[in-house]
């Protein structure tokens, strides 16, 4: 598994490239399927008919106004959550660190619920509020683990996160009791979904996604150095404390943005880096690259399933990812030994 870099770097690069190609092809294929299939009566035949020039207004509308935005948003959410998961795992050096498990998503969702109860309704306000909530959630949970020295106790972080999410869930329940008028909207915020999102939502979060992306590019190298240990990183001229805080900031931006559009979507941040690491090996830079296609691939697949299993209704995406993600979590801990990050 842990091939030494010197010995086989060429072989790695080659198979990496193959893998990337395969994943990108799969992503394109899934995106196309996402345009073809839905909960409605417009199926692949009608959609393909559009290409050959048929004038099916209903199909045109559903593909371009409903499925295409949804697919794009799914890609954005998948990238954001996947990268956030990989970053969080690298920072905490804990393969179980995941925005959902650590309560970062819960923090974002709770902040939005609170804002709704306090009377905010403007869609634009939601994004910064969610990001702030995600940041607070991140800092809360990571400060528990005190960032340093948790390498030997991955579960402490997860426990802290579970306790934190549970707490926020109860507080949301209290708000439901306190303010029945916001109840509908809050109930919607505690289960993630891609249904009914508009492209405007995506444009609104795009700047923060880009900022976070730039941040990730900036800290990818230092993070990789950090994986060698605190001293090694300092010796290479990096500042471990600063890198960690930057990474946490990126995670908050990414998770906040994803939660602001789609609500809390559990386990994506766990499953995506898990798969990416299995392909890319332990190097965080390569893992981050592979998160880019793997994240959307998983989110879109889950979303397509969520559309068709209970048609003409839809299953909330957050429920589906939890159902599929939890077994992966268990598989990770059942593995002979946890990969050390």
């Amino acid at each position: 598994m842990l091939l030494t870099k010197a010995g086989s770097s060429a072989r790695w690069r080659c198979s990496s490239r193959h893998w990337m190609l395969i994943l990108l092809t799969a992503l394109v294929a899934v995106s196309v399927v996402s345009l073809l299939i839905g909960a409605g009566s417009v199926g692949p035949r009608q959609v393909l008919g559009l290409i050959s020039g048929s004038d099916h207004a209903e199909a045109r509308f559903i593909v371009w106004e409903l499925r295409a935005p949804r697919t794009l948003i799914g890609i954005a959410v998948g990238v954001a959550l996947g990268v956030a998961g990989a970053l969080l795992q690298a920072v905490s050096r804990n393969p179980l660190a995941e925005p959902g498990l650590l309560g970062v998503s819960a923090g974002a969702a709770f902040a939005v619920s609170l804002a709704l109860v306090l009377g905010a309704s403007a869609a634009t306000l939601r994004i910064p509020v969610a990001q702030l909530g995600a940041l607070i959630g991140c800092v809360c949970v990571l400060s528990v683990a005190r960032l340093r020295g948790v390498g030997n106790d991955p579960v402490r972080l997860v426990l802290a996160g579970a306790a934190f999410s549970g707490l926020l869930g109860s507080l949301s329940a209290l708000m439901l009791l306190y303010d029945q008028r916001a109840a509908d909207e809050i109930r919607f915020w505690v289960v993630g979904s891609l249904a009914g999102r508009r492209l405007d939502d995506l444009w609104a979060v795009l700047p923060s996604l880009l900022v976070a992306g730039a941040g990730v590019v900036l800290i990818a190298r230092p993070l990789a150095a950090l994986a060698l240990g605190e001293r090694a990183a300092s010796g290479l001229g990096h500042r471990p404390g600063l890198i960690r805080w930057l990474a946490v900031g990126c995670v908050a931006l990414l998770v906040g943005a994803a939660t602001a559009i789609a609500g809390p979507i559990a386990f994506v941040g766990l499953v995506v880096p898990f798969v990416a690491r299995a392909i890319a090996g332990p190097d965080i830079r390569r893992t981050l690259w592979f998160c880019l296609p793997v994240g959307p691939l998983i989110v879109l697949t889950a979303d397509i399933i969520s559309r068709v299993v209970v048609a003409p209704s839809e299953l909330p995406l957050g429920v589906l990812t939890a159902l599929c993600g939890a077994p992966v979590l268990i598989a990770v801990v059942r593995a002979k030994r946890l990969p050390m990050l």
């Binding site: 579960v155 997860v158 802290a160 934190f164 109860s170 429920v319 589906l320 268990i330 059942r334």
Partner: protein
């Protein structure tokens, strides 16, 4: 080393008849170790070492619990004087107060005491087992399993079994699943807990799915099972819990020694003569059963499993696992929380699960932020 371990049994009293101490016990002049009182019955050759601090803490908690109970029976939509409460308890008040105390407040008080005690006891067991102060049966999915089954029963998938029975079944199912999935790694360490978190997440998702897909009235009927409430709970489940709690408490006190040792690393515990694996399994089983019975009464009020033991630990010495103190503290917390939920926003009742979350939340954050002590 072995002897020290024996002394530091938790709780008030444990008959002490080991051969090593037998002769000493019969000798009058033997002094108790520092911080202990020795109560000896020389005629029977039995002596008991009572840790002073534990004794004081347990008596203090009992007194506080008693005071809270009186307060609980007095306050409400109609405030009664303690005299009136006592009068109606012995059946000498007027019919309205008697009904209010005997039929409304007393059964609920008993349910609160029992569930609080059971949750906290289960919590302190689980925390000792996991060597982590944040581990609760709720976090490893037992609460979620119970809720999912109870909700299933309410939304009409339960083949006609009452929600408390289904909650019991759900808690057991979740525990069995967690056991099964973590098998191979045993009940040891984090794998077990993380498997439990995964199981809990699945059940949580299933619950949300069911609630999202039923009529709003049915969702309302299921509401107490999703947050935890003590309003008009079925008496049969409370009785079952009472029996379970009594047996569980005895069993926990009997397991006290191996519990104290479980806090050490496995190698040390084995070296001290504990069958680590067996001990673990017993403790875990006890914790699961207690939680299941309590959830069947009150729904998921999991934070009590965190708050109760935490209070007990902060009061007791770090020498041993404060089993009795945690149990008492849990009951106290539950009684006070439900009292607050009943009276603060009257006539609207706040479910007890929400109260414990709101009160326990900041506390939890404080625990999380504070640098951790070396042992749970």
């Amino acid at each position: 080393m072995k002897n020290t371990a024996k002394q530091s049994l938790s709780g008030v009293a444990l008959p002490h008849t080991s051969t090593a101490y037998h002769e000493e016990a019969s000798a009058q002049a033997v002094a108790a170790p520092q911080g202990y009182w020795r109560a000896a019955l020389p005629r029977y050759g039995v002596s008991v070492l009572l840790e002073k601090r534990a004794l004081v803490v347990n008596i203090g908690l009992s007194a506080a619990l008693l005071a809270a109970c009186v307060l609980y029976l007095s306050l409400g939509s109609v405030t009664l004087s303690p005299n009136a409460v006592v009068a109606s308890l012995v059946g000498r008040g007027d019919s309205m107060t008697t009904f209010m105390v005997q039929q409304l407040r007393l059964p609920r008080l008993i349910a609160a005491c029992f569930t609080g005690a059971a949750f906290a006891l289960a919590g302190v067991l689980m925390q000792t087992l996991a060597r982590n102060r944040l581990a609760t049966p709720g976090i490893i999915g037992i609460d979620n399993g119970a809720t999912a089954f109870a909700v299933a029963s309410i939304v009409g998938l339960g083949v006609g079994i009452a929600p408390p029975a289904m909650a019991l079944a759900g808690a057991t199912t979740a525990a069995v699943l967690t056991f099964g999935l973590a098998s191979g790694s045993g009940t040891q360490g984090y794998r077990f807990i993380v498997a439990g978190i995964g199981v809990g997440a699945v059940f949580g998702a299933v619950t949300q799915l069911m609630l999202a897909r039923v009529a709003i009235d049915t969702a309302n009927a299921a509401y107490p099972w999703t947050v935890g409430s003590l309003n008009a709970r079925p008496a049969s489940a409370v009785q079952l819990l009472g029996i379970g709690l009594a047996l569980g408490l005895v069993a926990a006190l009997a397991l006290a020694r191996s519990l104290t040792l479980l806090r050490f690393k496995d190698a040390i515990a084995s070296g001290l003569g504990t069958a680590v694996k067996v001990g673990r399994l017993q403790v875990l089983l006890l914790s699961v059963v207690l939680t299941a019975l309590a959830v069947a009464v009150a729904g998921p009020v999991g934070l009590v499993a965190l708050i109760g033991p935490e209070i007990a630990r902060s009061l007791s010495s770090a020498r041993h696992v404060p089993i009795l103190a945690a149990t008492l503290a849990g009951a106290l917390v539950m009684v006070l929380a439900d009292l607050a939920g009943r009276t603060l926003f009257a006539p609207i009742e706040i479910p007890v699960g929400v109260v414990t979350a709101v009160v326990g939340g900041p506390w939890l954050l404080w625990i999380l932020m504070r640098p951790q002590r070396s042992r749970p």
